[in-house]
Amino acid sequence: MKGLEFWKHVSIGRYVEADTPVHRLTPAAKYLWLLALMLSASMSGSALVICISAILPLFFARLARVRILFLLRGFLPVLPFMGLAAVFQVLFSWPADRSTVLLDLGPVSLSAREAVAVVLMALRFVAIMSTIGLFTSVTSEGDTARGVEDIFAPLARVGFPARGFALMIAVAFRFIPIIAGEFESVVKAQAARGADFGAGARGPLRKARAYLPLIVPVTIRALERAEALAEAMEARCYGAGPATRYVDTTGGSADMVVRVAAILYALGIFIVPVLLAS
């Protein structure tokens, strides 16, 4: 369709149902690996660890039969920022950089240290984007919320509202298409009366001016919809007492092994380099 189109019909996330060892993992195990890989890709200074955290999600993707190209496509939108960061790395030298100069173009030079920094940065991005991409490809909306509840389950014993927290995430998912739909109906109502939408308005200022008056009605409608949902939840005894869970996410012993492995991995990437260095 051309003209005014919104994301109302877009499905959230990229979850595709499949029966693979990775899909079968409990949401808690998936979350632990997500955290472990994100941590190792973003916090570790070791080149080896960064390489491992870029390769591991691709290995898991094979197990999950998720196309690797599909994961890397998520990488495209951040490419311009990557390029910008790389340019800054090259333009501004590291203080006391005595590594070999690989390329010398007068005032700008690329040293070996700068080259390594650029490559590692790119690898970190690949690792993070493919980890997130893989997680959303193998975890359903419901599991995304339930996993949070499971991860925080130990805290729930001391009064942390783990179920409420998980439900908040589930409701946030639900509201993306709802808000998009409300936005769409307000835009359409105004466009039908001559407001500047999808009628070839040029210039960011004119566009911004057209969208500004939407904030109030869309916010009000979003609150009304939220209130309606809250009523429906309350009418179904939400918060009446200790709740049970329809979907079983306990997992078997194999799943427990995977969870422990994630924790060991996260600890290992920080401890092993220290041990090796000493």
Partner: protein, 575 residues
Amino acid sequence: MAIVSTDSLSYTYPGSLEPALSGVSLEIDEGDYIAIVGANGSGKSTFVRCLNGLLQPPAGAVSVAGADPSTPDGRTAARRVISLVFQSPPDQIVASVVEEDVAFGLENLGVPRPAMRDRVEAALVAVDLLEERTRSPRFLSAGQQQRLAVAGAIAMRPRVVAFDEATSMIDPMGRAAVLGLMDDLVAGGIAVIHVTHDMDEAARARRIAVLSEGHLVFLGSPAGLFASDRLDALRLARPRSYSAALALGLKPVIGEDAAALGHRAAAELKSAPEFRQSPTSTPVDTAPAFSLKAASMSYLAGTESERLAVDAVSLEVPAGSVVALVGRTGSGKSSLLQLLDGLALPDSGVALSLGVDTASRNVDLRAVRMRAPLAVQRPESAIFEAYAGDEVAFGPRNQGLSGQTLVDRVRAAMDAAGLPFDEFRDRQPRTLSGGMKRRLALASILSLDPDALLLDEPGSALDPASRAEILNLIHEYAGYCTVVAAGRVRTVVMSTHSMDEAAAADLVAVMKAGAVVAFGPPARVFGDNWDESWGLDRPFAYQLQAAMSTAVHEATFLSAAHSSAPAYVKAGGPA
């Protein structure tokens, strides 16, 4: 034995001066079937919300199976007894999978998992959604979503299920299914409270309660209510078969369908009933106002979730006609209206809006849209100005009007929509009733002085009187050319789920799966060309006519009946 009872229940919303409910005393028995009717804003929803403590009633005013919902414990107890099904299908879905949503209430009650599985399955079987159990509710039709809400309610094994206008936003087939579920509940000994604007639906109940401005003004049998002469004052109407029987001079019978009434009429009436010709205005013979040539349109074109919304539709809307667009939910009515207005552009084919090709390169889409503005579904939800007058002035301001011309235009539009300018210009839209908000939304497109109106379900979710008023307004607008501005032709295209409303239009277009499968005068579409596979509800007058003509084979009667629909349905207004 009363399971729900209220004792002079009053409720005033915080910050409001007027009470929404005053002194309502009512008893609902175990296994009862009661309908609650009344104008928009009469307190029906407030009443239902007081029963389960969504609104906090005064202490002692409400008793639900012995519990008082004004206390926290009583509230929980009341919610176990009364389940609620709300108006808007998508607004009551919590989970992202059908069966998990049914389980939501059971989770909250702390039901153990094996028992929960059994109850979820039984509830899904009861509403015939078992096959959809692992799907996302997003991909269900509105009617299916509402059945899902019913499943979530009955899984909790309530003793009362209250439906708050739960059939007002779904198509005729979905509505019939939900009404069937209500019968099942009553047959199973569960009491049903049905809040509705539809008198045919209300007539199905054993008892009817009428609320007016927060007061309980009637409580009794449907027969008692519809025989009353206070209906107009209460902004209510009579069921379709009831009005038809009266018009035929027969004794009305509550709950009688068209077939039964037709047989009775044929047997009891000595002389053939007098069918009047319906006043169809012949469309002026000019260039079409809208014209689609093999126009197709899909959402998310080029992605995996691509969905064809309009499928190679060719349609010519004669200038000066009123066209009703009917079809099941998701059949493409809204998308088609957007194509006519230029809010959506065809992916292939041509869409001409008042002679302008909307997809051509240098077309001014704003001008096209303002000549044939579209009122989206429930347009009042898109009202954004703080004052009614400003809301109506938004369009003409975009046309470049200002000063006295602007004021004159706004005044004319508001007066025409039945919201007198001097009285309503400085009113805040959110303080208006549902019917008045809808009028305001109409005024704010009438103020563009358009050549055509495109209306997406203009009468939905309104009480019978408001609905009739809005429809009168639309027909008045369309008939304006013949009275005042000679030479000025005005066209209306409106979608509707009410076939009785559609029968009053000049032309009817039936949509099915994105295609227009029938297009012509109502007498033809609803008469000889009628097709059950459209999944629609044939207008009552035509059902009656069909029933009578199968019962009577008198040549004189047949020739009269074939000419057109009986006019009394229009005279009586849509039920």
